[in-house]
Symmetry: C3
């Protein structure tokens, strides 16, 4: 049932999982909602972002979930999430770190999803679809479970377009006969660069700013309503 044709090297896969775990924990630590997440909640978000892309990819491909075939995935995701929590105070305002990690993680999950789909014989369009779902799926799960507006839907052109462009590049390179490994590296670069450029030139982490504004607005209505009339 496991195909021997194509194997994402374990270290590469674990790197994506680890970076995702750090990024997820950083994001969750920075979250100020109506109800603060406890430490376990922050760790769970990290694990979710680290594992989510691979889980969604393999569910869509109907193959045994790679991330559950070895102890290392969960250990890496958990360790990375804990590291992210420890580093949160250091990196909290270094939005660049979160954005940068995010961009690379999107590219990696997109590249692994698309190349695994191609290796399993899927046509080009669904292969791109699987890549994009793997790339953005973790963050969709995160937003749904944290009760946030789903970023991909609202300001997500950045995410989905970056992932999509990377995956399309990979499919084209593969069709032209370029090696999958080289294609995957180009895919990661394309996705990460688009995402970073979008953030640099357009709007700096738009979904988080918007969220904050919304939260603040929400709290303003929620609390000081009882303010007595001025005189």
């Amino acid at each position: 049932m496991t195909e021997p044709l194509f194997v994402i090297p374990l270290w590469a896969d674990l790197t994506a999982v680890g970076l995702g775990g750090i990024q997820g924990a950083l994001f969750a630590s920075g979250f100020r909602g109506q109800r603060r997440l406890d430490l376990l909640g922050v760790a769970l978000i990290g694990i979710l972002i680290g594992m989510g892309g691979g889980l969604i990819r393999d569910l869509l491909l109907n193959v045994p979930l790679t991330t559950l075939q070895s102890n290392w995935y969960l250990i890496t995701a958990t360790g990375a999430a804990l590291l992210g929590m420890l580093l949160a105070n250091v990196f909290q305002r270094l939005n660049r770190v979160i954005v940068g990690l995010d961009a690379v993680v999107i590219g990696m999950f997109g590249a692994f999803g698309t190349s695994k789909a191609l290796a399993l014989g899927l046509p080009a369009v669904p292969a791109v679809f699987v890549g994009v779902c793997a790339a953005v799926g973790g963050s969709v799960l995160r937003d749904v479970i944290m009760g946030l507006p789903v970023a991909v839907m609202h300001v997500g052109s950045l995410y989905a377009v970056a992932a999509g462009a990377g995956c399309v590049t990979l499919v084209i390179l593969d069709a032209v006969g370029v090696d999958l490994v080289i294609g995957a590296i180009v895919c990661i670069a394309v996705a990460a660069v688009i995402r970073i450029l979008a953030v640099v030139f357009d709007l700096s982490l738009p979904e988080q700013r918007l969220l904050h504004r919304r939260k603040v607005a929400g709290e303003t209505t929620a609390i000081p309503v009882v303010r007595p009339p001025a005189d």
Copy 2:
């Protein structure tokens, strides 16, 4: 792993996907929430509604996802979603079109889900369950991702009952020995008629009306709080 016993004809499956895509995009275009969806968001909702039913069906049946075995599903869903966006201004107030499309789509996904489940040898009750999940699953995903109250839970008797009645009819016809194709057609008719009658006689698209009222209420509290005391 793919069973040769039962194949939903491609044109029928693509029709359901296309109608779902149009309906999803029309729904999403009409959506006025706290934060407007961008164009990509509208397209994604259309694709989700078009593809969702088939994806959920095949995940539950643990078979390779049909909608990812060919380029046509995603192309159809995307094209239909774009068409729905273009037509949105024309059809916006023609609620009937949305309701009608919706009713037929529910019936088709229900029929395909139940008949595929029966063909794979599932017992009657789970076959109905798969059909109902395929029929309403896309709209549940849509509501969760758009941050709306899940329609099926609150006013969904209409949806779930219509889909359930259609799927039960199909199972009974199949047990009696009627051909699956005829059973599927009857199933679609039953589900669509119940859903349309429910809308016509009971309440006209209740979940959308309620949503609007809720949004309006939400905005009223969110804004004019700072009004100075009258005197």
Copy 3:
């Protein structure tokens, strides 16, 4: 495709499904949100909690969904949900019943998930992961679909820690050579006792109390804002 090595006895599986169905319906009946669930909604939540754990387990394990291979699972879940609705008025304020059922259900789904994963040859860490996901997955789905803050994220140490402790115990006992059945029973006991102790000594059903407070707070801001200035 179905492994003959390990079979959870049908009566045990159905007991978990039935208890889950009752518990889900009791929870949903007690729910007072912005929009009341209709009866079908309450039944659906019951079915979801009853079926959810098994569905998530088998999806993660990429095996045919056991709960769809026989009519009995859905019949049991539906019957239990209806029973839960009927008993709701009796048990409404007997929070203990809900908490107790909840604790046992968590333990059972955790035990079945972990032992099935071990029987399928998964390593220890993913086996615990599958067990925890099976144990808390149903309640995550419930919260997402009901539009509630996901309990596991916010106050969930109780849930996830209890399930995790039980599943880890099971894995250790299995590694030491203890029979899976005995391990599963110990796992259920450990999870249920931790969950119940947590509720008894720490906070009595914290997520529900908090929810209520939040709802009330929400309603207070939503309504009396227009109060005229005192003078």
